[in-house]
């Protein structure tokens, strides 16, 4: 019996997502893990980060109180950097931008994702209601939706499933799943075949079999599956 291989650090997970942003893309980062992407982008690259509050063009999170501008914050009232060209707008305009298909990528956290690309990420167990926030619009309307999450819950429950059991945030919306052990693409169902999840990359030390063992949906292993590299 071999030791369980190490899982990726959250910063590296964010880098795996940010690696694939193209210059000039408009990207919305969800709270928590996804926001880490803001901190790993090279300062000389122009990726326009969008915030639902009504802001486009922010940069890394600021931790030094002396540098904070309290009017430049994102969800959770987190202070961030104002990049040159930053624009402020209203909530309705911010969501017109999302819903109108003007965002290239949404990176969201996830509680569950299934092989049809359904996403559940708003309803915490035991809570009397879910926090939808802007997730339904982002997940459904961004040109590309990436879910960045730990592969399993802290108590080991599976999160990538044949079919979500929690209330859906948005249906058939996920294009890619990046976790602490793998990178997977969701291939949408078509008339003649069901949706599938294709395993593209595995974390160092992980085999496709080891990833499959902690995944609740059957994975299709890509012919060119390889180790995650930045």
């Amino acid at each position: 019996m071999t030791a369980t291989p190490e899982r990726l650090h959250p910063t590296v997970m964010a880098m795996v997502v940010a690696r694939d942003f193209e210059d000039g893309q408009v990207v919305n980062l969800g709270v928590g893990l996804p926001l880490e992407c803001a901190n790993v982008l090279p300062p000389d690259r122009e990726i326009l980060l969008h915030s639902e509050l009504g802001m486009l063009g922010y940069g890394p999170v600021i931790t030094d109180p002396e540098l904070i501008d309290p009017f430049v914050t994102i969800v959770g009232t987190l202070p961030v950097t104002a990049q040159p060209g930053i624009v402020f707008m209203s909530h309705d305009e911010s969501f017109a931008m999302i819903r109108g298909g003007h965002l290239d990528v949404a990176v969201l956290g996830g509680l569950q994702v299934d092989r049809d690309g359904n996403l559940a990420n708003t309803q915490l167990e035991g809570k009397p209601a879910g926090n939808l926030g802007g997730a339904p619009d982002l997940a459904y309307c961004a040109k590309r939706t990436v879910v960045l999450m730990f592969h399993t819950t802290t108590s080991g429950e599976l999160k990538i499933l044949e079919a979500c059991t929690l209330p859906l945030t948005a249906p058939r919306c996920v294009d890619r799943i990046v976790t602490d052990v793998a990178v997977m693409d969701v291939v949408a169902a078509s008339d003649d075949r069901p949706g599938e999840i294709v395993l593209r990359e595995v974390a160092p030390g992980w085999t496709p079999e080891a990833v499959q063992a902690i995944t609740g949906a059957r994975l299709t292993v890509a012919d060119d599956v390889r180790e995650i590299a930045l």
Binding site: V31, S51, E52, L53, G54, M55, I62, T63, P65, I68, D69, P70, F71, V72, T73, V75, T77, L78, P79, F88, M89, S90, H91, D92, S94, F95, A96, I98, R99, N118, L124, E125, G126, K127, P128, A129, G130, N131, L132, G133, G134, A135, P136, D137, Y140, C141, P167, L168, T169, A170, P171, R172
Partner: protein, 263 residues
């Protein structure tokens, strides 16, 4: 040749001296839009506190989030050392805690962590209040529709999820859409940084629901950091035209330390 008005002209002046006066006529059972996005710098704290003092109850509150309440209000500025955190942040969790809210229409009804329970959430779990959870995009568009005289609209966001249940679905270009209706309020309580006596508003930073809600209610009241002379705000830089705003009130120079202080 020009008409001379017999009474002499009466200038437009939407300034109200106190927050208490500005919300004195909010009735029990009113629907109220609350602007901002859970930040001391964009929430209409003094208007919330004035509503709390005024006592209106049975409110339907439309807001991004239902608030943390006074006990946790400084969590919103945790990145500042304690001595720099605003003492005058009163979020609508205060109204929830006082039992004034009957129903919330919101995107964030609960705390984001298992370990936290906010006032509205606790009441919801006990079945004391109602909630209508709406994604933020549809909530923003429903409020904008109220301002813009649009009765209802079809959005692609919602079909296939709980928010579309019981609503009309229709395909456009093969994509399912759900019909959402305008969300008008009796009062909109919002926050801006600058205003003039016409009610023209200017905002610093993301304008959140503060811009969206202006004009989406019968009476829009703006809490502002500063009232400037008419003409100071340039015609190209005004974010909200004064016609959408009925009352403006300036925040005090010295921050309140309790919501109970009359302002």
């Amino acid at each position: 040749m020009a008409l001379v008005h017999p009474r002499g002209p009466r200038l437009i002046d939407k300034r109200i001296a106190t927050f208490d006066e500005a919300v004195a006529d909010v009735p029990d059972g009113a629907t109220v839009h609350f602007g901002g996005f859970v930040s001391p710098w964009n929430h209409p704290s003094y208007l919330v506190a004035a509503v709390a003092r005024q006592g209106a109850s049975g409110l339907t509150a439309v807001a991004t989030a239902m608030g943390r309440g006074p006990a946790r209000s400084d969590e919103h500025s945790m990145w500042y050392p304690p001595e720099r955190r605003p003492t005058d942040y009163f979020d609508i969790g205060l109204l929830a805690e006082l039992g004034r809210i009957r129903k919330g229409i919101t995107s964030f009804p609960v705390a984001a962590r298992h370990s936290l329970v906010y006032p509205f959430e606790a009441q919801l779990a006990r079945g004391e209040v109602e909630v209508e959870v709406t994604g933020q995009g549809s909530l923003a568009e429903r409020i904008r529709a109220a301002r813009a005289g649009i009765a209802a609209f079809y959005t692609p966001v919602g079909p296939g999820t709980a928010v579309a249940e019981g609503k009309e679905l229709r395909d456009f270009d093969g994509v399912p859409h759900v019909l959402e209706t305008a969300l008008h309020a009796d009062f909109a309580l919002i926050r801006a940084q600058r205003a003039d006596r016409h009610g023209n508003l200017w905002f610093r930073g993301a304008r959140t629901f503060n811009e969206t809600m202006a004009g989406a209610a019968t009476v829009t009241v703006a809490e502002v950091d500063e009232i400037v002379e008419l003409g100071t705000l340039g015609p190209e830089e005004i974010h909200v035209a004064g016609v959408y705003v009925q009352r403006i009130v300036e925040r005090p120079r010295t921050a309140a330390t309790s919501w109970e202080q009359p302002q």
